[in-house]
Symmetry: D2
Subunit: 338 residues, 4 copies
C-alpha cells in the first residue's frame, strides 16, 4: 500500500536484467557506448522523428533545467503552470541553469488554458527592454494534478506560443502514462503537436534513474551536450544510463508498465468513488481524492502510505500515486481499509 | 588490454549484487532511504569522523562543483593545479556552480608545491575590491599526472591555505588508489591533514556511478543539500546510489579494488621499464610512459587501448590506466605486444 | 506638461553646482574620495543610525539587485508585490545578481497586505529541499501604484517576515516622496520599522543618476562592496556620485524637492477630481486617473506627455508623474487642456 | 604631481559644459534622448562604420563584461593577456556576466604574441565536451604595461582568432591614447584590424564616467541592450551619459586630450631617463620606471602620488600615469624632486 509516489517503487526486472548485461566487459565512456546508438535509434523510430537527437541524464530536474536553458535566453520568461514541477519542486534549478524567469499561468486541475496562456503572453514582454522577454512554453503531461493534456490540447497551446516564435517544452516525467491515458502516439503528443524538446521520463515508470531529453530540432544538440557536461550531468560510465533506457523502450515495456500503473490508478479511483470518496477526474496514475475526517488516520493505521494535503474545512485530502509495481491486491487492501 | 581509462571498466560484482538487493520492494526517496544511514555510519567510522556529513551524487564533476560552490564565494579564487581536472576537464562546471575563478598553481608532475602555492596566494587578493579574493584550495589525489600527494604533503599545503583562513577541498576521484599508494588512513589523508571537504570517488574504482561528498564540518550540510537539489543532482530513487556506496565501503572492498588496480599499474610500469620505456614515477594506477616511435601503432594493432599524448620530438607518449578489473594477463599481453 | 515620468526631469541646480565644485583638482578614486565620508555621515545622522554603511551606485536597478543579492541566497524566495519594480521592470536583474526567485504577493493598489504576505509565506519553503526556500521581503515605497505604506504598515509586514528570520529590503526609488507623504522620519520608515537594507533613490528626485544603498546591519558591508565591483557598478571617478548625494541630503534638499513634487501631484489630483476624473488616492507624486474616452487624444494634442494604460471598457486610464521640476503652471495648463 | 592614475583627474571643461547644457528642460529617458542619436552618428562617422551600434554605460568594467557576455557563450574561453584588466582588476565581472572562463595568454610587456596566442588556442577546446571551448579573443590597448599594440599587431592576433571563428574584443579604456601613440585611425585600430566589439573609454580621458560599447556587427545589438538592462547598467536619465560622450567625440576633443596626456607621459619618461632611471618603452601615458632605493620616499616626501610596485632586489619600481590634466609643471616638479 505504498501510494506516496511512484519514485518509491523499484526498477522493473527487464531493466535490472539489462543493467546486468551492460556490466559485462569494457565499454566506451561519456555517451560513446554502443547502447546509446541503439537508444537513439529506438527514440527516432518510436517518435517517427529520424532527425531527433537524444541525450540521457539521471534526474528529471536535470532534464527539465537543461532543456529550458538550451531554449530560453537569460532574459526570457518560461510560461508554465502555477503548480508546475519546475515552479514548485526543483529548488530554482530551471532558473539556475537558464537565468530565465518563470511566469506562472493559472488554470484549474493543473492545466493552463488557451485563455490563461493568452493573458500571460499578452502581459509579458510588453515593456521593451525593461521587462522580461517572452522566452518559451513549458507544459507538463501528466500534470501535477494528475490530469492530462490531449495531443490536441497541447497543439492548441503550442500554437499560441509559436505565434510569438517561442519554442515549446514538454516535461514528460510521466510521459508514458500520458500516452496511455490519451491513446496518443509519441509523435502525436510531441512534435506533431508543436513540442520542440521533451523530457522523457524513465525513473518513475520502472527505471532506476534515467530520463531522455529528446530534441526534435537537432540545431541545439551540441549546446545541450555542453550544458549537460557543464552541469555535471554527463556520466562517465554512461552505459548504465543507456542500458536502462534501451530496455525501457524495447518491445513496448514503457507502455506496458504505464498501462498497468494507470489501470491500478483507475481501479483505485473507481473503488474510492464507489465507497463515497470524491475523486476528481484523473485518468493516469495519480489521484487527489477527498474524504471525510478520520480517514487519513485509519488508512495509515492499516499500513497505507500517501501524502496528506491541505483540504477544505471538514474534509481530508490526499495524493495517491500508483506505479508499475502496484498490485491489484495493494489497491484492494487499501480500499478495504478505507 | 583496455588501458584508456578506469571508467571504461564495469562495476564490481559486489556492487552489482547490492544493486539487485536494493531493488527489492519500496523505499523512501530523495536520500531518506535506510541504506543512506548506513553509508553515513560507514564513512564516519572509516574516517574516524563522527560528525561528518555525507551526501551522494552520481558524477565526479557534480561532487567537485558542489563542494567548491559550498565553500567558495562567487568573488573568490579556487587555487588548483594548472592541470587539475576541475580546470581542464569539467567544462566550467566549478565556475558555473560557484561563480568563482580558478587560479592555476603550477608544479611538475601534477603537484603544486609549497613554493608555487605561496606565490599564487601572494599575488591574489592583494588588489582590494578590484581583484578576485582568496577563496579556497582544491587538491587532487591521485593527481592528473598519476603521482600522489602524501598525507604530509597535503598537510603542508593546507597549512598555507589555512593561514589565509581558506577552506580546503580534496578531489578524490581516485582517493582509494591514493590511500593504498601511500599507506595513509582515510583520516590521515583528509581532516587530519586539513581537508574540510572530500569528493570520494566510487565510479572509477568499481561502481556504476556514485561519488560521496564528505563534509567534515557539518555547518555547510544544509547548504550543500540545497545546492545539490538546485543543480538537479538529487536522485529520487536514491537507494541505488546508497547501495553502490554501501557495498563499496563494506568489508574493505574499495581498498581491495584499489590495491589490485595499483598492483596492475606497477606491474605494467615495471614491465615497461624492463623493456626500455621511460616511465615516470607514478605509484598508483595511472602511467604516462614514453617510448620510441612506432610503438603506438604496434600496440594498437595488437588490440591495446590507451590515450596518445603529445611527446617530445622523436618520442611517443601515452596515458595508461589500470583498474579493478585489469587482469595480470591483460598486462602481460600488453608487455608482449610492446 | 511632462508627466510621463520623474526621470524625464533634469537635476536640481544645487546638485549641478555640487558636481561642478567636485570637478576641481584631483581626488581619490573608487569611493575613497573625501565627499563619500561626508555622505556616510549625513546618512547616519539623518537616519539616526550611527552604524549604518552606505554605498553608492548609479541606477535603481543596481541598488535593488545588489541589495537583494547581498541578503538572499540563490535558493531563496524574494517576497515582493505582484507589480513591484523588481518583478516587472528590471529584466531579471534581481534574479541575475542573486539567483533567487521572486514570489509575487498580490494586493490592491500596489500594496501587499498582512493577509497576502502571510499566505505567500505559508505556501513557500514547505517542500523541504525541493522547493525554493523563504529568503527575504522586499517592499516598495512609494509603490508602483502611487500609494504609500505608512511606517506602521511596513512594521506590520516586516514583523511577519522576521518571524521567519527573513531580512527586509525597502526599494525607496521614491523614498523622499514617501517620507513627505506620511510625515515619517527616515528612521521610522526604515530600521525602526524592521528594514535591514534600503535603496535610497536620488535620481528621480533631482539628481543625475545616484542611489544610496543603506545597510543598517554593517555585517554585510564588505560583501556588498565585492558584489558592486563584480557587477561593474563601482565608479572610478566616484566623487561625482558622492557630490550628487551629498548635495541631495544637505540642508533638507531631498525633502524640499519631494515636498514640491508631492504638492504638484496633489494639485493635479484635486484639479482632475474637480473636473470629473476618477483619481484613486495616491498621496505622493504619481497618479493613475481614469477619464472618459477622447481625453487622451485631447491632452496629447495640447502637448501633454503621460503614459496611456489599459482601462476598463468605455474608459481611459493614464499614469501621471510630477517631479521636483514640475511647475504649478504645468499643472494648471494640463487641467485647462483637460 | 598626481600620477597614481588617470582616474584621479577631473573632467574636461568641455565635458562639464555639455553636462550643464544637457540639464536644461525635459528629455526622454533610457537612451531615447536626442543626444544619443548624435553620439551614434559621431561614432559611425569617426570609425567609418555606418552600421555600427553604440551603447553607453558608466564604467569600464560594465563595458567589458557586457561586451564579453554578448560574444562568448558560458562554456567558452576568453583568451586574454595574463595581466589583462579583465583578469586582474574586475573581481570576476566578466565571468559573472558571461559564465565564461578566462584563459591567460602570456607575453612580455603586457602584450600577447602570435606565438603565445597560438599556443593557448592549440591547448584549449581540444578535449571535446569535457573542456572549455574556444570562445573569443580580448585584447587591451593601451595595455596594462603601458605598451601599445599597433593596428597591425592587432590584425595579426585577430587573424589567429578568426581562423577559429572567434569574435574579437578590444578593451579600449585608453583607446584614444593608443590611437595617438600609433597614429592609427579609429577604423584601422578596430574593425579593419578584425575587432568586432570595442570598449571605448571616456572616463580616464576627461569624462566623469562614460564608456561607449561599439558593436561593429549590429546583429548582437538587441542582446546587448537586454544584458545592459539586466545588469542594472541602463541609465534612466541617460542624457547625462550621452552629453559626456558627445562632447568627448566632438571636434577631436578626445584626441586632443589624449595627445596631451601622452606628451606629458613622454616628457616624464625622457626626463627620468636623462636622470638615470630605467624606463621601459611605453609610448602612451603610463610608465613603469625603475630607480634606485630611497627614491620612492624622496618623491613622496616632495608630494608626488604614484603606485609602488614589486621590484627586483636592490631596485624600486613605480607606476606613473599622466592624464589630460597633467601639466608640464607637474612633470618638471616631479623630475626636480627625483
Amino acid at each position: 500500500m505504498r501510494f506516496a509516489s511512484d519514485n518509491t517503487s523499484g526498477a522493473a526486472p527487464e531493466v535490472m536484467a539489462a543493467l546486468m548485461r551492460a556490466n559485462e566487459g569494457y565499454d566506451r565512456s561519456y555517451g560513446a557506448d554502443t547502447a546509446m546508438d541503439r537508444v537513439t535509434a529506438l527514440v527516432r523510430d518510436l517518435f517517427e522523428a529520424p532527425e531527433a537527437v537524444v541525450h540521457l541524464v539521471a534526474t528529471g530536474t536535470a532534464a527539465n533545467a537543461l532543456a529550458i536553458a538550451t531554449h530560453c535566453p537569460p532574459w526570457g520568461a518560461v510560461f508554465c503552470h502555477t503548480h508546475a514541477h519546475i515552479a514548485e519542486d526543483e529548488c530554482n534549478a530551471p532558473e539556475f541553469y537558464s537565468g530565465a524567469k518563470l511566469v506562472l499561468v493559472p488554470g484549474d486541475h493543473g492545466k493552463m488554458t488557451p485563455g490563461s496562456l493568452t493573458a500571460a503572453l499578452a502581459t509579458t514582454g510588453e515593456g521593451g527592454v525593461h521587462g522580461v522577454q517572452r522566452g518559451m512554453l513549458s507544459l507538463t503531461n501528466v500534470t501535477e494534478a494528475g490530469t492530462v493534456y490531449s495531443a490536441s490540447d497541447i497543439a492548441t497551446l503550442t500554437a499560441l506560443a509559436k505565434a510569438q516564435h517561442l519554442p515549446c517544452h514538454l516535461d514528460g516525467a510521466r510521459f508514458a502514462n500520458a500516452l496511455v491515458a490519451t491513446n496518443a502516439s509519441p509523435a502525436q503528443m510531441t512534435w506533431q503537436a508543436g513540442i520542440d524538446i521533451l523530457s522523457l521520463g524513465g525513473t518513475k515508470n520502472g527505471c532506476l534513474g534515467v530520463e531522455a531529453v529528446v530534441l526534435f530540432d537537432p540545431a541545439k544538440a551540441w549546446e545541450f551536450e555542453l550544458r549537460r557536461k557543464r552541469g555535471g550531468h554527463l556520466f562517465s560510465k554512461h552505459r548504465y544510463l543507456s542500458a536502462q533506457m534501451e530496455a525501457y523502450l524495447t518491445d513496448g515495456l514503457w507502455l506496458r508498465l504505464a498501462t498497468h500503473a494507470n489501470a491500478m490508478g483507475q481501479r483505485l479511483a473507481a473503488g474510492l468513488r464507489a465507497k463515497g470518496a470524491t475523486v476528481p477526474d484523473a485518468p493516469a496514475n495519480m489521484l487527489f481524492p477527498e474524504w471525510s475526517p478520520g480517514t487519513h488516520d485509519r488508512l495509515e493505521a492499516a499500513g497505507a502510505h500517501f501524502y496528506r494535503l491541505n483540504a477544505p474545512e471538514g474534509r481530508e485530502r490526499a495524493r495517491l500515486v500508483t506505479s508499475w509495481s502496484t498490485t491489484a491486491e495493494d489497491v484492494d487492501r487499501f480500499l478495504a481499509a478505507f
